[in-house]
């Protein structure tokens, strides 16, 4: 199995029937910076009658080190995660980027160790991005109880190009009766986060995220929704900075994780950060 270089190359994935339980792999960014998004994803799944197991020993998929050119460190961290999912339940990840790491890159970093490689492959095969799981396995269909609203959607590059789930977010939003989706210019373009790229090359990263924020704002949408917390933090923290610099007190581009948005619109109670 090799990683796709284009979403169109994905042979349509075979999805399992709705399971009794799933593992929830929150990712390090969600655990520490956007825990409410993780909590809302768990609530969404549980509301559908699925038991959610949160493995206590989870930390990180290893991607930060892997993409920075430190495969050995990535391997150590990834290896520590292989034992977290003993039962044959699907593993749900609320981020295209971490899901992509597990699904396509874990096998590469364990390529020279047949035993670890086989275990990584088994984990990869039952790893799903939250949105694709909600759409294709859960068949998410709830009444939209919110006021009519226009939102815009940012799809992460990993969701689009590694997980092939770029249309999933749209379809989920389309199932909400009062939500209008506004498309933005250069929609398939990266928001400029790129993990350590945002620190290492701030000039270019800033140019990219500023363009993305401008395109999202130009839709006139009230908020941006995305299924990836890296992009979410990059975009909303940039918009906050623009507000701060312009002396605006009302956020010009609030953002939410797709899980939070779906839960809030369909009568659920989103988690409070504090």
């Amino acid at each position: 199995m090799s990683s796709p270089s284009h979403a169109g190359e994905h042979t349509p994935r075979t999805y399992p029937p709705r399971p009794a339980a799933v593992y929830f792999y929150a990712t390090c960014l969600v655990d520490l910076f956007v825990p409410e998004a993780g909590m809302d994803a768990i609530t969404l799944l549980e509301r559908e009658g699925i038991r959610v197991i949160f493995p206590e020993s989870q930390s990180c998929c290893g991607q930060p080190a892997y993409s920075s050119g430190f495969p050995e460190e990535a391997r150590k961290v990834a290896a520590s995660q292989l034992d977290l999912f003993p039962e044959d339940y699907p593993i749900i990840v609320p981020s295209g980027s971490c899901a992509g790491m597990i699904r396509w890159h874990w096998e590469k970093i364990f390529a020279d160790d047949p035993a670890l490689h086989a275990r990584a492959a088994a984990v990869a095969a039952r790893t799903f991005e939250l949105a694709e799981f909600l759409l294709h396995v859960v068949g998410f269909q709830r009444r939209d109880e919110g006021e009519p609203v226009t939102v815009t959607l940012h799809t992460s590059c990993s969701a689009r190009r590694e997980m092939g789930t770029h249309l999933v977010g749209r379809e989920l939003l389309a199932r909400l009766g009062n939500v209008t989706l506004a498309h933005h210019g250069h929609e398939s373009e990266c928001c400029g986060f790129g993990g350590s790229f945002s620190m290492k090359h701030p000039d270019i990263s800033t140019a990219m995220v500023s363009d993305k924020v401008a395109a999202l704002k130009a839709t006139g949408a009230r908020e941006v929704v995305t299924a990836d917390c890296g992009c979410l933090l990059n975009i909303t923290k940039r918009a906050e900075k623009e507000d701060l610099d312009a002396g605006r007190s009302k956020p010009s581009l609030p953002g939410e994780h797709l899980a939070t948005f779906l839960l809030r619109r369909t009568g659920g109670q989103p988690a409070r950060r504090n």
Binding site: L32, I42, F54, E56, S67, G69, S80, C190, G195
Partner: protein
């Protein structure tokens, strides 16, 4: 006729204006990128040009399954050709020799230039007229010839403009894409005597054509690149739009072609799919205006064609990439430029900022082999790994994967058995320590729990200035409760 004046002026102005970029330090790269990204004109012109090229390409592939089958076929042909590269090169040499083409092998830029200068000297050549060739840029051919007192004149319109301006190509297919028509108008008015300012594009092209037409007749040697070299027939294929390639390869008495060793394919039938996907990916054309198949010098009784044809096969770091199974994929490239057209980084800094012959995503993965990692170790980091390049690559080079690999080669501790020249050039004891520490925290559940608890608990101590992040964003602050706390509290 004003052309003779124009011609001599154009020729003399070529002399050594564009100095080769001899050293690409990390600092120099950072400065160029900084300047480029803060240049509103550059930003606007590249955004516009790349949008145009992306739309043109997309219009050529309305049927995604047709595109994907063609990509599969093209990738297969390139991989097959590379898997038999040594054999195919020998076969190519034998068949070209049989056809009367003289084949030369060059290990690096200096050897290639020496071979071509030798040919020029034998013919007492004063002027070489050039079709578009990125490999000739790679070896700094124009400078080598200039230093030896031979004029090398670009005849591709974009290359001609870039040469007049004393610059470098900013794109491998559209070398002058960074210039506005007003800038070109000013350039022509300044550098081509007898020409007054006009920004009428047709007039500008006519001026260029007039200058160049003279040169084709005067030139002693024509130089061209090669898009595909067919081993079984000994044929050199050249894809172009302006007809200058055909002029360069047929009018002067001597034709020198130069290409990288990876451009060989086994059979003529392998060319058709590659040619189709090349023009559609590059310029969004169903087919180029000209497609030349060169099979040897003029034969007795033939009315035209060069008396001598030479092919220079250049290695220049390619065999280093070839030796490694993963890095070998770099050599699948057919130089269409689609990766740069779709790259959000290239779109923002343009091609010149990279400081390498080949800019953009392909430049980031091929230049380290040509120049060594000492100079290029920062290049692979200038990417968000968004994957847009890999998504459009007609031969499915996994560019993001190769960028990750090169980051590793650059940053790992220097060791005795390097796969690449300059391995470890980007090694930093501090970065290495940081990642080792990171792994110690994240690979041990107890450590991670403690670390994340501390980060959350003492979030008030989070620095408000966070390296590059807060240059444009509000700071990242850990949440008061981690997700694991929320999960626990709820139960």
């Amino acid at each position: 006729m004003s052309a003779p004046h124009a011609t001599s002026a154009a020729a003399s102005s070529n002399r050594g204006d564009a100095r080769p970029i001899a050293f690409v330090s990390a600092q120099a790269l950072r400065e160029r990128m900084h300047d480029a990204v803060n240049d509103p004109h550059l930003r606007k012109s590249f955004r516009g040009a790349m949008d145009f090229l992306m739309a043109k390409r997309a219009a050529q592939f309305p049927d995604e399954s047709e595109l994907e089958s063609l990509r599969t076929l093209s990738e297969g042909i390139r991989q097959y050709s590379l898997s038999r590269l040594p054999d195919l090169l020998e076969q190519l040499e034998a068949n070209l020799t049989r056809n009367g083409v003289q084949v030369h092998w060059a290990a690096d830029a200096d050897e290639a230039n020496a071979i071509m200068l030798g040919i020029a000297r034998r013919h007492a050549a004063k002027t070489i007229v050039k079709g578009k060739s990125m490999v000739s840029e790679e070896i700094e051919f124009n400078h080598a010839m200039h230093d030896a007192g031979v004029d090398a004149l670009e005849s591709d319109m974009g290359e001609y403009i870039v040469q007049l301006a004393g610059e470098k190509p900013s794109h491998i297919i559209m070398p002058a894409i960074h210039k506005t028509k007003e800038q070109i108008a000013t350039l022509f008015a300044e550098k081509v005597p007898g020409v007054s300012y006009t920004d009428n594009v047709d007039t500008l092209i006519q001026i260029g054509r007039q200058v160049l037409r003279e040169k084709f007749e005067q030139a002693d040697i024509g130089l061209s690149g090669v898009n595909f070299a067919v081993a079984e027939t000994g044929t050199l294929c050249l894809v172009e739009n302006e007809g200058n390639g055909r002029m360069c390869t047929t009018v002067p008495r001597v034709h020198m072609a130069i290409t990288g060793i990876e451009k060989v394919v086994e059979k003529l039938e392998h060319v058709a799919p590659l040619y189709s996907i090349l023009t559609r990916s590059a310029t969004g054309q169903a087919i180029s205006t000209y497609f030349n198949m060169i099979s040897g010098p003029r034969k007795p009784g033939e009315k035209d064609g060069p008396e001598e044809v030479h092919l220079i096969l250049l290695d220049n770091g390619r065999s280093q990439a070839y030796a490694d199974e993963q890095l070998r994929k770099t050599l699948q490239c057919i130089r269409c430029g689609a990766c740069m057209n779709h790259c959000p980084v290239y779109t923002r800094i343009g091609g010149l900022a990279y400081g390498t012959t080949y800019p953009g995503p392909i430049g980031k993965i091929v230049s380290p082999h040509m120049m060594g990692l000492e100079q290029t170790h920062l290049l692979p980091t200038v990417s968000t790994l968004c994957g847009a390049c890999g998504e459009v690559c007609p031969v499915r080079i996994p560019i993001p994967e190769l960028l990750v690999r090169l980051r590793g080669e650059a940053q790992s501790k220097p060791h005795d058995n390097p796969v690449m020249v300059g391995q470890g050039a980007g090694y930093s004891p501090l970065a290495s320590f940081v990642w080792r520490t990171w792994a110690r925290i994240y690979a041990r559940p107890g450590n991670y729990r403690m670390f994340s608890w501390l980060a959350s608990r003492f979030r008030a101590l989070t620095p408000s200035r966070q390296s590059g992040w807060t240059a444009a964003r509000t700071p990242l602050t850990p949440a008061p409760r981690r997700l694991r706390d929320m999960v626990r509290d709820r139960q």
